[in-house]
């Protein structure tokens, strides 16, 4: 495998489950080595199925994929040696201690003796589990369990690490601790990470490149900034003291659009939304123009474009709508 070969490459994966449920509908993916790649999408978009195929757990109906240069269908054993998997349920043995779980996982990957002992100590230390190392896992908190799951995935120093929704179900504190840990992992000797998440914020913060998945395929991929950049600048939302009539609307739209850096203007009753190259810089000019027109402004907010906006643009629906009620509690 040459340095420039992709760490993960998937071509037109299709997977249908019993009962004609199409999980993947032509999934294409290329992940460069040494990067963190985020697969972003609501529940049921096909993220977990993609991970199951790439980690040799499931077989696609058609299509092909290589991980760390090995074909997942022809050489699943080579793939398994090269990958670490942190699934949504990683299933550490609850009756075994953290150390025992790590030792077993290391042994399954062929580590033994002093090298195994050193590696286990190192991971316990790194994931701040040293104190809990000799306690059965069933007494661990959610955050501790998740850290152990990640440590299990790293025992054999994999080339590619799969993190399937690593922070789902964690409380905010444990989540930000996990984010820091994943951030640190990303800097490590050429480790490639494929991260799936349904938190927009998580993908934005951790992934260098993001693919937005909807209904079993990638609808758009790129760096979070590039994706957001395509939306041309920031949004400025203003709430007016009183509603603007039809005549006033045309007048205001014209006046605001004439300001430098302003692209789109939408006046709707008591609300005005503007897209601008630099939101914060254009606020004073916008307020001055409105004052001159005799319109009082109650509030003005500047919003950087979010992946939510990107999702809306490419999937054609709001992220929270696509995600359904299951996600309402999850997005913060």
């Amino acid at each position: 495998m040459t340095i420039s070969a992709p760490a993960i490459e998937a071509r037109h994966l299709i997977k249908t489950y019993a009962g004609d449920v199409t999980a993947l509908n032509g999934m294409d993916l290329t992940v460069e080595p040494g990067t963190v790649f985020g697969l972003l999408g609501p529940n049921g978009a096909g993220k977990s199925t993609t991970v199951k195929i790439l980690t040799t757990l499931a077989r696609p109906d058609s299509g092909e994929a290589t991980v760390a240069g090995h074909d997942v269908l022809r050489h699943p054993d080579r793939v398994r040696r090269a990958i670490g998997v942190v699934a949504q349920n990683s299933g550490a043995d609850p009756a075994a201690t953290g150390r025992e779980n790590l030792r077993l996982q290391g042994r399954l990957h062929g580590l033994k003796g002093a090298a195994l002992g050193r590696r286990v100590d190192e991971l316990l230390e790194r994931f701040t589990l040293t104190e809990a190392a000799e306690r059965p896992v069933k007494g661990y908190s959610g955050g501790m369990r998740r850290r152990l799951d990640v440590a299990l995935g790293l025992v054999h120093r994999p080339e590619v690490l799969f993190l399937d929704e690593p922070t789902t179900g964690l409380d905010p504190q444990a989540r930000s601790a996990m984010w820091e840990e994943i951030g640190r992992l990303a800097g490590e000797e050429g480790l490639t990470i494929l991260l799936t998440t349904h938190y927009l914020e998580e993908a934005d913060r951790l992934a260098e490149r993001v693919a937005i998945v909807d209904r079993g395929r990638v609808v758009v991929a790129g760096t979070p900034d590039a994706l957001k950049g395509e939306l041309r600048g920031d949004a400025v939302h203003m709430e007016l003291r009183q509603a603007v009539g039809d005549a006033g609307r045309t007048l205001l739209t014209g006046a605001l659009r004439a300001l430098p850096g302003v692209h789109e203007v939408l006046v709707d009753g008591t609300r005005i939304s503007v897209r601008s190259d630099d939101g914060a810089a254009s606020v004073p000019a916008l307020l001055a123009a409105l004052e001159q027109a005799g319109v009082g402004v109650a509030t003005a907010t500047v919003a950087r474009p979010s992946l939510d906006d990107v999702y809306l643009r490419y999937a054609g629906r709001r992220y929270s709508e696509a995600a359904g009620p299951a996600l309402v509690g999850g997005v913060r």
Binding site: Y17, A18, K52, T55, T56, L57, A58, R59, D77, R80, R81, I83, V85, A87, Q88, N89, S90, G91, A92, D93, P94, A95, A96, E100, L104, Q105, R107, L108, H109, G110, P136, L152
Partner: protein, 258 residues
Amino acid sequence: MSTAVSQTWYMTQRQLMVFVRQPAYAIITLIQPVIWLFLFGNLFKGVVELGGFGTTSYLDYLVPGVVVMSALSANMWAGMTTLDEIQRGTIDRFLTTPVSRAALMNGNVVNNGLVTALQSVIIVLLGLLGGAEYPGGIGGVAVLVLAAVLLGTVFGALSNALGMLVRERESIIGINTFLLLPLTFLSSAFMAPAQMPSWMRHIADFNPLDWAMVAGRSAMAGDPDWDAVLVRGGGLLALAVAAVWLSIRTFRSYQRSV
């Protein structure tokens, strides 16, 4: 293949540890046979007078029966553990490592075999304590324990296969509840064949539990009928190999469904 052997050992160790660390479960597994032994021992005490039991003490006859019944009832729940591990994600975690599928299943087989052997030995010792006599000596008892382990392997592997295929607790509970008592009573476990209706004896000839029964009891007699032992024991071994092979195969259909 030293890798396969050591992987099987890691998997066995992991399961034995669960058995040892859950004393409540371990104690129940070991105490239940005691209850059978003394319940049936007292309830059916008088049936030896009907004749055909080859002994004048019902306890002598009962001990192998309880050993075999306990082997069946302990192993037929193996699929529940497998189901737990599927739901917890443990099986998926192992399947994405280079560990061999055979080692994954064989870990269950070896672990269940060791637990069954321990349980059987304890029942035999309790029987001894209660005054049972084993004219076949240690050799006879060893054959009984081996037959119980083989029977346990057959039903443990089938239970695992069922767990992997249907992935529903209710199915395992239903099938086990349905099978346990008919399999036990359509055999010579508690009643001498001479006292069974002839149609029942014919059914018993096809009952693997009865094979284990006949093999164990024949070997434990003062004058063992080794042909009977070999035929039944061989049948059990063949069934066990087939059941384990089938349970390893079910990983494939499991992976098709995830």
